[in-house]
């Protein structure tokens, strides 16, 4: 593994598979009564959040704590763009505190990259979402979830509702994933296109043309404006959160028109292949990109994704902070003492 996790595009097929396999091993302890491993005892992980995201922060916090790391939550909201402390000064402060890893969420694209390539800080940097750029651990947890459900069953065909541990050592070769929504502003979409493609999946982005970035035709995926056509034959559909305020900047006329053309409702869900899953990174805008009927259905993995997020983030922290041996082997050695 590299020292930092900045972009899903930096992960090779082997890197990604190692993280997902490690996450599967670590996920097993989630079922135990004592969920802690001593692996990162004495190490300090800082959650540096320049932007509110309780969901992502507590996921990283739970991951670090289950590995026995010391966790410092540093909320620097308001961001350095306004009057607050600059990114550099904040980084120097964390360096002085001896942070072994900094998990950073920042409204400005590239801020984690800047932190990792500056001489401001010595520890590992984990991108927990930067502007409209990337959110690599979200893509990893999405891939983890897909792998559990979709990775090559007997005969290579997908099998629906497989369980924990399934998919270990496998990738997403040949799986068809449809990602729907505000691709232009979505760090989740960018990270997923990179990672899912690396893992062998075929990704189709679906959005109104206004919510696709210029140059998207150069991305390693297909692009469609037509949701209904893209749903047929896909193995997973991922609905991105769409902020209704986007209509004020004329990205689409009304919420109603958006959900009619690009929302997932029961009728559209029924058109999916039987084994296909419905994913959402959360928080969901029920009634906008997804109806309650779909969100609450057994095919929607949103809650499962949250649980998987902790396992994947444990794996990332473990591997970045020097886990050379398989995570759970280390754990067993400790246990047997």
């Amino acid at each position: 593994m590299k020292r930092h996790l900045i972009s899903a595009a930096d992960l090779t097929h082997d890197d990604a598979t190692l993280i997902l396999d490690t996450a599967e091993e670590l996920a097993r302890i989630a079922g135990r009564s004592i969920k802690k491993l001593p692996t990162l005892r004495g190490r300090t992980v800082v959650n540096l959040f320049f932007e509110d995201s309780t969901r992502t922060r507590i996921s990283f916090e739970a991951a670090a704590k289950r590995l026995s790391a010391d966790v410092i939550n540093f909320s620097a909201k308001g961001s350095s763009v306004s009057k607050g402390e600059s990114l550099k000064d904040t980084a120097l402060t964390l360096q002085a505190m001896g942070a072994d890893a900094v998990v950073i969420r920042h409204p400005s694209s590239g801020a984690p990259h800047r932190l990792a390539t500056s001489d401001w800080i010595g520890g590992s940097v984990v991108n927990a979402g930067d502007g409209t750029h990337e959110h690599p651990t979200q893509a990893l947890l999405d891939a983890f979830t897909m792998r559990r459900h979709l990775a090559g069953g007997p005969g290579g065909g997908p099998t629906f509702h497989r369980g924990p541990g399934d998919g270990t050592g496998r990738d997403l070769a040949g799986r068809r994933i449809t990602v729907v929504g505000d691709v232009l502003h979505s760090r989740v979409a960018r990270s997923n296109v990179a990672l899912l493609t690396t893992l062998g999946a075929r990704v189709t982005l679906v959005a109104p043309p206004t919510l696709l970035p210029i140059g998207v035709e150069h991305w390693p995926c297909e692009v469609s404006y037509d949701l209904d056509r893209a749903l047929a034959g896909c193995d997973a559909v991922m609905m991105l959160r769409v902020q209704s305020e986007r209509m004020n900047a004329a990205f689409f006329p009304t919420e109603r028109e958006y959900s009619r053309r690009y929302g997932l409702d029961g009728t559209r869900m029924a058109a999916l292949p039987e084994h296909a899953i419905v994913m959402h990174p959360g928080p969901m805008n029920r009634g906008m990109e997804i109806t309650a009927e779909v969100a609450d259905s057994g095919r929607c993995t949103a809650v499962e994704q949250v649980a998987n997020g902790v396992s994947v983030r444990m794996a990332v922290l473990y591997l970045l902070l020097g886990g050379n041996e398989p995570a759970v082997t280390t754990h067993r050695t400790e246990e047997s003492k």
Partner: protein, 428 residues
């Protein structure tokens, strides 16, 4: 005043001549001229150019003396081979009155390193709403002829039209920073493949091109002249080429960095590459070089934009836009235009001295190297190769995108009205 003899230089890159300077003027150009007690500059293998003229410099004084002053900026200009620079109006206070432009003009005279020709703001406070007292600035001691809200676009079509019309009374020119504001709200870099991947808000070429198209039509309509600042896209070149083919009085400049650098560099997220207008694509760079070579683009202007270290030592979105350029401009032009065979040294003299001086209506600069002309001269060693080290800059700021890059050519001497401001590559 003492006399100076430049011995054996290639005048405009052509024939080898001796040039005798006396009393601030070129006294003689010939061969085998006698030194007669003159201070001698041995210039074999070097190119003698008319002193360079920059139409677009940010000297930051008054108001932002932490990034540059007229003194430090003119010292940087002299090292870069410039004998005249146009100081942009976006200072604090804005150069929108006769008082401020005269202050800047006087500071330039006191510096002694380089003539400073203030640019006046088009509108009060660069706000784009009300015309500044253009006539008062034109009639002031500073004799302003170039007016610009640079940094901001005069986006209101009526204000732009009136400004273009009004300056005809004193042979002025409006230098437009072409940037449609609505299309560039929050924009961080060129809109294209790279911005899409990096998740940085795009700055479309059309935001520049649509304003240029409107302005050349307005200039034609009212029979005035318009100058396009830092043209950066292939599409802008096409519009200017078309306007010139109509015989309209349209001129344009390109910066050295837009002749060399592309938006691929933004992948580093290093704000040293953050600039307005943004770095564009390879295709744009090649179109700009071609247009500078064929004269569609009239001149090179540095858009020297000093910023203190802290304004670049941060994340991309928080960083200031701009690059210093005075001390590297000629090297970048040699690298991109001369060494590529697109332009000869006479062409460089034209694009970096004759034409910008003419656009700015600057007397005494951009003159031929001939007896009786003011001795504003620049001596260049084109064989020199050096790695850019900002620690050696005379500018107060260090925000160069070329640090660590090897560039050709070096200004060995600069003469302002016969007095050396630079000798042996060092400030006098």
């Amino acid at each position: 005043m003492s006399t100076t003899l430049i011995r054996g230089a290639q005048v405009l890159g052509g024939e080898t001549r001796d040039v005798l300077i006396d009393g601030g003027l070129v006294a003689a150009v010939g061969t085998g001229l006698a030194a007669d007690g003159a201070e001698v500059y041995e210039a074999a293998g070097q190119i003698l150019l008319p002193g360079l003229v920059d139409l677009h410099t940010h000297l930051r004084e008054p108001g932002r003396e932490d990034s540059e002053t007229v003194l430090t900026g003119t010292r940087a200009a002299a090292l870069g081979g410039f004998t005249a620079v146009h100081a942009m109006a976006n200072t604090f206070p804005v150069a929108d009155t006769a008082g401020v432009v005269e202050q800047v003009w006087r500071l330039g005279r006191e510096s002694g390193y380089c003539d400073v020709q203030p640019v006046g703001a088009v509108t009060v406070g660069l706000a784009g709403k009300q015309l500044a007292e253009l006539g008062a600035m034109a009639d002031s001691a500073a004799g302003v002829r170039v007016f610009s809200d640079d940094g901001k676009c005069v986006d209101d079509a009526v204000i732009m039209r009136r400004a273009l019309e009004y300056v005809k009374a004193f042979d002025g020119v409006i230098a437009q920073h072409a940037q449609e504001p609505r299309l560039t709200e929050g924009a961080q870099m060129n809109e294209g493949v790279v911005s899409g991947e990096l998740g940085l808000r795009g700055w479309p070429a059309v935001a520049e091109e649509s304003v240029i198209a409107r302005d050349v039509l307005l200039a034609a309509h009212v029979g005035s002249r318009v100058h396009v600042c830092h043209l950066s896209t292939a599409g802008s070149v096409e519009i200017v080429r078309w306007a010139k083919s109509k015989g309209w009085d349209v001129t344009a400049e390109v910066t050295p960095h837009h002749l060399l650098l592309t938006d691929e560099l933004v992948r580093t997220y290093d704000p040293v590459y953050k600039v307005n207008p943004p770095l564009r694509t390879e295709a744009d760079v090649l179109a700009l070089r071609e247009a500078l070579a064929d004269g569609t683009i009239d001149c090179v202007a540095t858009d020297h934009a000093p910023h203190p270290h802290e304004d670049k030592d941060c994340e991309w979105a928080a960083a200031a836009m701009g690059m210093v350029g005075l001390e590297t401009a000629l090297s970048v032009v040699q690298h991109t235009m001369v060494d590529t065979g697109l332009l000869d040294w006479a062409g460089v003299a034209d694009r970096m001295s004759f034409r910008p001086a003419a656009i700015g209506r600057l007397a005494g600069h951009g003159r031929p190297i001939a007896a009786g002309e003011p001795a504003n001269l620049t001596l260049v060693d084109p064989a020199y190769r050096g790695v850019v080290n900002p620690a050696g800059f005379a500018s107060r700021s260090r925000n160069t995108p070329y640090e660590g890059r090897e560039l050709p050519g070096r200004v060995t001497a600069t003469f302002l009205r016969g007095t050396a401001t630079v000798r042996d590559g060092k400030l006098v």
